[in-house]
Subunit: 342 residues, 2 copies
């Protein structure tokens, strides 16, 4: 056979999505924003809905050897809500489909759904549908979140302008180190099952990985204070990757200051133990589910009042590229090392 | 360990969903219809959206040895649209997530998406989002469909009343026989690869399985003719299973006339070849994606004008149960033999 074969790894995740959706034709007048942002936006009769979906697969996105099912249920919901919040919207509903092999008992699934309902209750979201199926191997979770936003108040990845300030919520890199920690303890346990995992004093890092919290609070604060970010994205694949998404979509460049990247003391400490740079964990780690956004300079005074928001850089002209200024005064090109599981 | 373990197979699919969602609390005032119908309905600012989702897993829901990827893409979309039409609503948008192992090439995925876009174009639906992930094994597809319906005009499974007439569109049982045919040819081919599959003259049965068409036409006709079914469901798991869903949700009984069940001549012929009753294929086969609905008696004259709709029985009191009257005059209790893959 002489059929052409292109490996998916040649394109990577983002390249693949772009390739497959390049001929996607919009037919509905109400489609305001389609593939390529944190969520899509549809407008019908003046109301705007925001829709996002995620597929989570055992062995790819989570490891059940150290992920309690209740936490997994909670996280499956909140990673989707995070995408809705990243549009400056409010999530209202989810659907949840699961594919399960017969190694799972009803009690195990109950535990998973306990976490799902806990997230729904905490963020005032209704579970309105789903599908339950057998799977040949592993646990498969598909969630779609639906939210609402005041007409034309949604924030995309494409509105950043030169001189805008770059902001990020909370702190970054902790979830990545939580993962490294759990992977290390899993390896030790496998090699010698008499040694029990030592996670003492590491609650923060582990919780950041296993039970992330979407920044509903910051979105509410922004709306209440009349601050509309010019662009926004949630940090699921690492700061570098998300920053580059904003730069590409907004057709701008950026400068990030390494010393301004917010890090938790536990992150700094554990990065040293693992002999990696703590800023590198923030830049390339991912799974923080914080919000990365840009604001106009005139909003700086207001933003600086919120201790949960750090200004970490500014937007430049596209020709200047995307760079990181290190503490030592070096200037490095920003590179996306995020997700590439293929 | 003394932990209780209940097997999922003890509950079955529908029992499992009911069990896991029994504590599902509704918090959003706009949630009009939640888990337990073909789709959910949410109302915000007077507009009503209908949402449905499906998870399709290789080896469970489809077999790539005889399913062309383009057909699979098309079918993944239309089985979801069928759920939206079953609410008397019009689909407008979908999200599509795929999990793929590295055995797939970019070209293979392109073929799949060709089918996806063909369905979107045919039914005027926009693909607005999704997720692409690696999978450890097999092809995983998750689709969420969103539609709209005039306020409070959606049709559920729970509105059937005593003396209503039971109607079904098109013909039933063909997809099931298409599947048996392909499974037979696959087995023959595996045992002796020099024998090529013999599907001559079986285009109808095979196409009913591989390229089902949701009944957008019938929904449009019903709306245009001012006929609002009292209850409706799409036939994905076989006539018996769907009829029992309507009876349970509407708290009624029913009588179905075997001789009235619409069958295609190819279905009758192939059922004989396989030594099974053709009505049994309709009752237990599934994957027909026709619409099963009930109407008030006063709508009978209008309904009888549409040659694509057959009246196959009537609704009775709950105490009378759900029965099938056979051609020979026998009366059998209706039993759901649909999906139970656990």
């Amino acid at each position: 056979m002489d059929t052409m074969r292109t490996e998916i790894s040649d394109l990577g995740e983002f390249g693949l999505i772009e390739h497959l959706t390049k001929n996607n034709e919009i037919q509905q007048a109400g489609t305001l924003l389609s593939v390529g942002d944190d969520a899509a936006v549809i407008d019908q009769f003046g109301r705007q809905s925001v829709i996002s979906t995620d597929l989570l697969i055992e062995g790819v996105h989570f490891d059940l050897t150290y992920t309690p099912l209740k936490h997994l249920g909670y996280k499956s919901v909140v990673v989707n809500l995070s995408d809705i919040y990243a549009m400056l919207a409010t999530p209202t509903h989810i659907t949840m489909s699961v594919g399960i092999s017969n190694k799972f008992s009803v009690e195990a699934l109950e535990e998973f759904y306990e976490g799902v309902y806990a997230a729904c209750e905490r963020f005032h979201v209704d579970l309105i549908g789903g599908d339950t199926s057998t799977s040949q191997k592993g646990f498969i979770i598909s969630v779609t979140a639906i939210g609402e936003v005041a007409p034309d108040k949604f924030v995309t990845r494409s509105g950043a302008r030169v001189n805008d300030l770059i902001c990020v919520t909370g702190d970054l890199g902790a979830a990545y180190l939580g993962l490294q920690l759990l992977e290390r303890e899993k390896k030790i346990f496998r090699e010698n099952p008499t040694i029990q995992p030592n996670l003492e004093g590491q609650a923060y890092l582990v919780e950041r990985l296993l039970k992330p919290e979407p920044r509903a609070d910051v979105v509410e604060w922004l709306v209440d204070n009349g601050i509309t970010p010019t662009s926004m994205i949630d940090v699921s694949d690492g700061l570098s990757s998300e920053m580059l998404h904003i730069c590409t979509k907004s057709e701008v460049g950026c400068v990030l200051h390494e010393e301004k990247i917010p890090l938790h003391p536990d992150t700094v400490h554990m990065a040293m133990e693992f002999h990696v740079g703590s800023a590198a964990c923030a830049l390339n780690g991912g799974e923080d589910y914080e919000l990365l956004f840009t604001i106009k300079q005139e909003d700086y005074a207001k933003i600086s009042e919120n201790k949960d928001i750090s200004v970490i850089g500014f937007i430049t002209d596209k020709n200047e590229g995307a760079h990181l200024l290190t503490k030592g005064g070096g200037k490095h090109k920003l590179v996306a090392q995020g997700w590439n599981a293929f």
